[in-house]
Symmetry: D2
Subunit: 482 residues, 4 copies
């Protein structure tokens, strides 16, 4: 059996021995921590849906190594169809969780490495690809969640890695041994880190020869000795500690991000996939980035949730037929489906790499992600317009339970007598969650910076455009001969 159930996944996490800090304290039981657990629930959804017949086609695939049925998140794309299904899987899970489900980053790292290890071997006669495939099989057979770790702290942005006053600002080799290497550094913004079994490290930018000690890629068990996780905090995170069923907005799911510190961690050779082949670091970065920019398909699914919530709020407010409300709902959908076009197009225009892996169209993947840095903000703005000011002036859930105040809330927040006031409050709390709360950190800020900030996409768009062809056409039409 190569696919875990959601329950098995949860149990498997309990067996890990992670060093996790939050609010200045070590977290003993990560799985049951009320702030972290919703993020675990979201990852668990990737296991649960794989067992649902109606989602099987999207959520699972056949391993090209073993021929076994595997969770698509551990799959190497074997066709255009696989790439398209990946986008659809992202939208599906975004819609079902209303947040970041964290597991795409590992899938993207695996796929990027399946291409680049092959290409390094072709040039250098190394054996990375074989080593990688063996590791991949291990991941597939165990149905692991993998964290793909790219972003280094970077220290002084004006200096390359080898010139940093503190050499650890970029992940690097500090010792080379017979059985493996010792590495040191940190990876920031690691989504889903403490819900992962494995972590794959990749360089954060194109390296030059002087930086070759930084041009490394490798995999580690998430609880390898020397790894420390420090949890980031999110807007409204502590509402999850309040014990209610309303004010956190999304009652089940969330995301998390962590700073992961590697303090002299040992990596055996069979888990090293790039070692100082600095000239391939750019390719690995761009390949991973392209896959991961496609992964922002998930925001279309979160967009579905926010649109559904806005429509519901309009109905509860009794204004769903007003022409300006209908027009705003159309606009939200139009923007959301424009994003969908992007993640479908970059997949359907994909191509086969020498290793056999299918890769998205890199230009269009960047165009897609670039729109993700814009449209969710406008969708969020419109959702706030439709929700009404009550979204931010609503008293707490506890006021609904107190006899002295409950009567007033029920009386004065009722807009339709066939809609319980509680429901109106529930839906407004969900919109608050998506536009200002824990989910906003994913739907907005992460949409901006995840898989690269806007400027990163603009640089790639600039590089990937065939400007000569456009200029040739223009000159010909107006009669310029050069």
């Amino acid at each position: 059996m190569t696919m875990m159930t959601a329950e098995q996944y949860e149990e498997s996490l309990r067996r890990l021995n992670l060093v996790v800090y939050m609010f200045g304290k070590r977290i003993g039981n990560v799985v049951d921590d009320p702030i972290i657990r919703p993020s675990m629930n979201a990852v668990a959804k990737t296991y649960e849906l794989a067992y649902r017949p109606e989602h099987e086609d999207i959520m699972t695939a056949t391993s090209h190594i073993t021929g076994n049925r595997i969770n698509r998140f551990t799959h190497i794309h074997q066709s255009i169809e696989d790439l398209v299904k990946k986008s659809k899987m992202g939208r599906l899970l975004g819609r079902e969780t209303g947040c970041c489900f964290q597991r795409c980053v590992g899938m993207d790292a695996l796929n990027a490495l399946s291409i680049v290890t092959f290409d390094i071997d072709a040039k250098h006669g190394t054996k990375y690809y074989k080593r990688f495939v063996k590791y991949l099989e291990y991941v597939q057979e165990n149905d692991f969640t993998v964290d793909g770790a790219m972003t280094d702290p970077k220290g002084d942005r004006s200096l390359p890695p080898h010139k940093q006053p503190d050499p650890d600002q970029f992940m690097h080799v500090v010792e080379e041994r017979k059985d493996g290497i010792i590495v040191r550094g940190a990876k920031a913004h690691q989504t889903g880190a403490v819900n992962s079994h494995e972590i794959i490290i990749m360089p954060t930018l194109a390296m030059r020869q002087e930086d070759k000690d930084y041009a490394i890629s490798f995999a580690l068990p998430s609880d390898a000795e020397g790894i420390t996780y420090i949890m980031g905090r999110q807007s409204c995170d502590t509402r999850k500690l309040e014990g209610g069923t309303m004010d956190q907005g999304n009652l089940l799911f969330g995301g998390h991000e962590a700073l992961v510190v590697f303090d002299n961690v040992f990596v055996p050779w069979d888990r090293v996939f790039m070692f100082k082949e600095y000239e391939f670091s750019r390719q690995l970065v761009e390949q991973f980035a392209a896959y991961h920019r496609q992964s922002y398909a998930c925001k279309v699914g979160v967009g579905d949730v926010i649109i559904g919530a806005a429509q519901t709020a309009a109905e509860y407010n009794g204004v769903e037929k007003a022409s300006h409300i209908r027009d705003k709902i159309v606009e939200m959908n139009h923007l959301n489906e424009t994003l969908y076009c992007g993640c479908i197009a970059c997949a359907s225009e994909g191509h086969k790499e020498p290793s056999g892996t299918y890769c998205v169209n890199i230009l269009l993947a960047n165009v897609h992600k670039h729109n993700v840095t814009r449209f969710p903000f406008e969708i969020s703005r419109i959702a706030q317009d439709i929700a009404g000011g009550l979204m931010v002036t609503l008293p707490s859930e506890k006021d609904l339970q107190s006899p002295e105040t409950a009567k007033w809330l029920k009386k004065y927040f009722e807009a339709h007598h066939d809609i319980p006031t509680e429901n109106r409050m529930h839906i407004l709390r969900l919109i608050e969650n998506l536009t200002l709360g824990t989910a906003a950190t994913n739907y907005l800020t992460e949409s901006m910076h995840g898989a690269g900030s806007p400027q990163a996409q603009r640089i790639m768009i600039s590089r990937r455009i065939n400007m000569q062809e456009k200029q040739r056409a223009a000159k010909k039409l107006c009669g310029i001969e050069e």
Copy 2:
């Protein structure tokens, strides 16, 4: 002495006996409650700055009743210059507090009533204006903070007040007595309610004859018997309970909003300013709305803060000279100054009403507010772009204090060795506060809905435009004679 100091203001609040609920419990000491206190601090700033010589010209005025020096927030605009200074006062206080300072709404209610009571008298031979001026003098002499309360719960949006199944969905008279009236109802979204000495009630929309019991306006002490305040909660509100000096972002100031319930409250006749003159309810609504839309000048000041914070974050990240960063800073400023043009223009194009009060240009005030429903969202989006993803993945302040994690945070979040890591964290927390946290509820959601939702402005723009003149010009130019 007609102007209180900030300290006197705080003391005066302690003497009130307000019935306030929050998180289901009655709050005994409102002034010192850690969640409410920052909002009190923001109002206190309106008293403090009035005593600063460099701001005296903007913050104070000469009463046209008594000739005394008064806080501008209790002043009736006597000239175009007064209107312009009001806009500048809003920007100043927005910049100094980084949030909603709550006191403008009372000023706007007073000014609107100074016009409408005069006009009612002119038609009906009533004595409202005199009564109002006496009340105004009381407010000015005591330098009170006044809550201007307009928004009713509204119940079923498809029905007028008198057809609501629950008649209390709009504030109304339930008994008429010799010495005054008894009123019942509620006002939602009341900004700064529990920091106010007085509360002025106005109708929420244009009333018809059948709704004349709802066409009422009056003033009450904020602690009148029968008034209950239920505090709304804001994104990240409970961070203020954590006792730190970083994670709440804005360390001193905030805003608050409350549902205010009036359960059979007595109003003596000398505090009643409109009583069933339903045909003036539209004027009062539009006049108040116009003044209050001008008041969104404050968001330009909050915009100053977010721009200053983004620039600082860019400098701390070491990227302030990158051309795309500079360009984004220009864009933020351009949008912010466009807003400034709106609140200046509607003031400088103001006019004198029959009562002698100066009123803003209503068309331009609506245009201004309508831009406020848009640009702060884009400014916020750009701020998040410049801040970087760390804004939402930053560990808590407590991780910076714990010896096990502090070393890693200091090491890995340092970008410039001459900038303390703490400062970088401080500024990111401020941007988080403004874009996702407590201040975002004011800078974003309230910008959308305060003083009327976008559609309200569109309706007013549509009404106030001279379309005939435009059509005449167009037809003449192309040769159409009708």
Copy 3:
């Protein structure tokens, strides 16, 4: 031989006997008329490129009727791949002509009819499909250009067809005969009408039973007796009469549109494809509209031209390395490629209809077209920014030829001494053509209204969205059970 060459196409047009009016006069020789000819050149390009080996895969297809190699413009889509190639063909031709090449509308009409005739037969037991296929084979074997005509004048917009004071405001049957029918009416905005061999008429909107005389579809030779063409004029149209090689901007290609009047025209039965089956008129309209909204792939190609021209202008002005110029070029590309994503995605998400024809995803086709009503305007705005004011203050080509003025133009309009001043003028005239001139009518106004105005797409988006699914997801996440 089933494919004409460009030369054969031109000759075939000479054999037509069209009744064409322009500037109030009958045009004897349509093909050589200097205003019309550039539009013929653009259609001819669809024939020419089909013979180019490098474009063969995109420009041609295998007929599913005869198995012959045919021009893709006469092809019925047999697969997703066909749909995607159609989008690519549109971009290719847009780039090579810089204007509207007019031939897509017939292709879209043929494909829509291939679906709807089949569906009518299935319900009514009629024989339309067989009749249609025979006609299709005739078009394919002769490689005809077909005009697809949908838009009726519509008269009073508030009345349905049968209530119009003038019954001819919608195309209708005026007589039913043994051998065929007599029709009367007009079709407006007919792109490429006088460059077509055939014209296919479709109803302009969903019809009800009372309007069944208007629920008709049929094909006619473009020179059938009773058809009159009145040419529309375009911005700068008469520059084509000036005889120069610069001021018209695009020296070879253009588009045209005409009002086509049908004054009691006879249609034999074997060319009638819908006859009063009013309940299918909506389907025919929506099917055609969806295909035709996909066809706005062409604007991506025109976008390529305008981007290429802007880049060239920047180089000629010596400013191509300025960061703001580079950023603007990226923005143009980003918007243009976002459009590309739309036309690719609606194709790759297509599906098979009962007739075997593949149809685009209707929701996404509408989303795509809706973006076409926006982005070309912004691309055009940026192009004008980059071009500089000289674009509209440039003296005429004749001033460059006159000895008295040529010296000054050459001296003062030279920005780089290795770039001939003429080239700088050429490229500015092309940008003028695309943003204000003849091509602007296609790139801008037609982008707005062609294949349906923006509101038409919004209505379709509203209909095609699965709102229930979105609301279900939202409610589940926040705990609403109904």
Copy 4:
């Protein structure tokens, strides 16, 4: 009598002996040339309205030199009120002409010189100001139209004036004589040049010491020996030659721009206002630019015309009550009035310069103009949306006169039987004129580049913002002490 009538203005132009070329030929009678005359009509409107009692307050002023009533276009702003009236005059004339009326540029040059000549004298002890005032009196007494000429051809953009291979790319002194100077160079994009009596030359950018020969300002009669005008052509310019009353859209008014060549022109000393005081060239440029950016108030008036035309087209199409149409009209107005706020605010926030001249707020003037580079494009896009596709597919006016086609046009372009089809055509031609035709070159392209391209405003916004103040506020709020 210090103010000319429109008729006197026209006569005064006939007395000039200008050397004007267009389409490669010398124009003998400039005033009656059908392409140029509409631009003369627009300038004449500035004379005509000054005599209308209802516009007298806006259109005229009292000379601070002579105390005479003068046309405001020759006035030096003596108060904030004057600045505000200037903005209102711009809107008024934009609305009455629907195009560029050309006379503001001279007013802006005069006002800028009134400041800078005073400041030069203060530093250098020169006598420029007195000389300038004498010249100003001459202009006021004669009610002259003055062209303010700033933009040089600039040659190689990467080189300063003195390094240009061709020294004439920037206007410069070629000889210094006892009685005056000889200058050579050219000024591009000169709006209204051949409708002017005088031309004032200013340097085009900040000069350094090495470029001091280029740091010159002076005035010339427009027909001084050695000056040649080469007319630029506009989109659809030749429609004015067709002799109709419909297709040119705006039947009376237009604008024009010209390249003005100065081939060794003599300037007497009493008309020289800056001579090699290079350190003041930046101030003159910025001062003039600020005034001239305010002058884009005129586009608000042209916006009034396009809104009036769109509303009329909607009524003629019978769709003016559709909610989406009403919403679009509101949006056009909102954008147009936002522009109005800009030109009012920069005026009302003006200040007094040492010379006594009032100057606009430079930051806000730049903000205003920057919005002018954006909103007219969106207004134009919406106007095209409302107008419908017929705007670009309408046959020519001659088709309406030909008996063979007139019947069809009248029949099929009638939407309301009480609206003559001609009127519908007239209004569509006006919208075409404003969005694609002669007026589009002013409303769009000139809005982009006139008074400086967008990037010029961004640089000024960047310079004029008080960033320190914003950063101080932000740091204080989040607890950063440095």
